[in-house]
Amino acid sequence: MKPFTYERATTPANAAAAAVRTPGAKFIAGGTNLLDLMKLEIEAPQHLIDVNGLALDKIEPTPEGGVRIGALVSNTDLASDERIRRDYGVVSRAIVAGASGQLRNKASTAGNLLQRTRCPYFYDTNQPCNKRKPGSGCSAIGGVSRQLGIIGTSEACIATYPSDMAVAMRVLDAKVETVSANGATRAIPIADFHRLPDATPHIETNLAAGELITAVTLPRPIGGLHIYHKVRDRASYAFALVSVAAVIQSDGTGRVAVGGIAHKPWRIEAAEAAMPQGAKAVASRLLAGATPTHDNAFKVPLVERTLGAVMAEARKT
């Protein structure tokens, strides 16, 4: 690990200001992803701003009838919250489908959103990777790509975004609340929060320099059956090959988002109109223009089958 200086932030705006002022600064909350990457020197911040003292660890009702989840609420606390379990079950289900108990206890809500890819070439510092070292090339294209992206990829990067929680938040139209160094706040719809790789895969979100996530809000509950179905290489503690977050109403209409296939949670609202016609109709619209590799072409039918399983479960219930 490279040496770094360390400070404990006192207010969210001060944290954001410190991040702008200090060269090479990064926020640290749970640290479960950042420290892993720092040990490998994939991340090498010169200064860490510890945000754990910022009292952003509450889940509160919003005036609109939804909930505001503080950026520092741990994944375990979020998945265990009574309101989340009752009204936003897909979020609880998605969280407990990911990582291990130890990691979920430490990982924060904001940190989960900012998780970096587990592309093996991003992790292998001996290999070119445009995300780790812009302009160095993509080893995954033409390499071992079984886990990697099938849609929204670019000539610079075919990495996938690894969070389960964010796929559920995408299906619920969450908003990401932030504060900037000058104290300005804004709410970013989760659809616009993560970016596609295009020519700049090292820029993964639309956060500005120093902008700090303070909360994630979920709108008023939409009812329906909440399902998170994750397909992976082992039954527990593995990243998704394909995952589906769904909220399905009793008349068969609903919403779906897919994880494990793109650089962001993948949701095409127009595809949801096809839900009464079945999984094939939805999948063909969701994956229109997909560019799978030889290794991960299996994900195309797997998306359809996972959607089918989710829709069958909804009909059964």
């Binding site: 690990m1 490279k2 040496p3 770094f4 200086t5 360390y6 090479g24 640290i28 640290g31 479960t32 420290l35 892993d36 040990k39 090498a44 010169q46 200064h47 860490l48 510890d50 754990n52 375990t76 998945a79 265990s80 379990r85 009752r86 079950g89 609880s92 289900r93 407990v96 489908a97 990582a99 291990s100 108990g101 130890q102 990691l103 206890n105 430490k106 039954a235 527990s236 503690y237």
Partner: protein
């Protein structure tokens, strides 16, 4: 305390080599060398931190990079907690922080100022075993023993998590509290790897402590 810090620094200096080791040496040998040494990147930072470990407050002065795991093992000689993968994948480093299990390898010691940390040494002693330690012995819940401290800390916390209503991937109904069934305990222990494969005996030990039929 100072002696053990010195030992740790010299060991690391040998292992790491290069700029980092020069920088580390500057701490133990004082300012004269610090002024002449070439430090790459930001000045090496150390910071005081007070941790309450197994009921005792321990004051340390640590390189900011020190993980909670390394603080325990290398600075406090609490070597019960084990380093396996050092990347949060194996669970050998599991400890309890304010009663909650975490991977101590993926947490900086300086981020635990004022926290109450319980390691395997604090759960029980050979003369006064924690019920989970006694159950692991009775049911042969280990072979080589390397993952065992992490398994036991995790097992103790898993039963607490079930009692306090934390859901899991195999929980049937999200609005009900889970029970300590085989399926629940297996799922919740998936962050602790045992290369000897003592899983079934670990489960029997946990089942006995949980007080539920296997």
């Amino acid at each position: 305390m100072q002696n053990s810090n010195d030992l740790e620094l010299s060991r690391r200096a040998v292992v790491l080599g290069g700029a980092a080791s020069v920088a580390l040496t500057t701490i133990s040998t004082g300012t004269a060398l610090a002024q002449s040494a070439q430090v790459v990147g930001p000045q090496l930072a150390t910071i005081p931190v007070a941790l309450e470990i197994n009921g005792k407050v321990r004051d340390l002065h640590l390189d900011t990079r020190t993980t909670l795991l390394d603080a325990l093992r290398e600075h406090l000689q609490l070597t019960g907690t084990k380093k396996g993968c050092d990347h949060g994948q194996c669970g050998a480093c599991t400890v309890l922080v304010d009663g909650v299990r975490i991977n101590s390898c993926l947490s900086l010691a300086v981020m635990h100022q004022g926290n109450k940390i319980t390691t395997i040494e604090g759960l029980g002693t050979p003369d006064n075993l924690h019920p989970m330690q006694a159950a692991f012995i009775k049911h042969d819940g280990f072979q080589c023993g390397y993952c065992t401290p992490g398994q036991i800390c995790s097992a103790v916390a898993v039963l607490e998590e079930i009692k306090s209503g934390v859901p899991s991937h195999v929980s049937g109904n999200l609005t009900e509290t889970s029970k300590a069934t085989n399926a629940e305990m297996r799922e919740r222990m998936s962050g602790n790897i045992c290369r000897c494969g003592a899983y079934s005996n670990i489960l029997e030990a946990m089942t006995e402590v949980a007080g539920e039929p296997a």
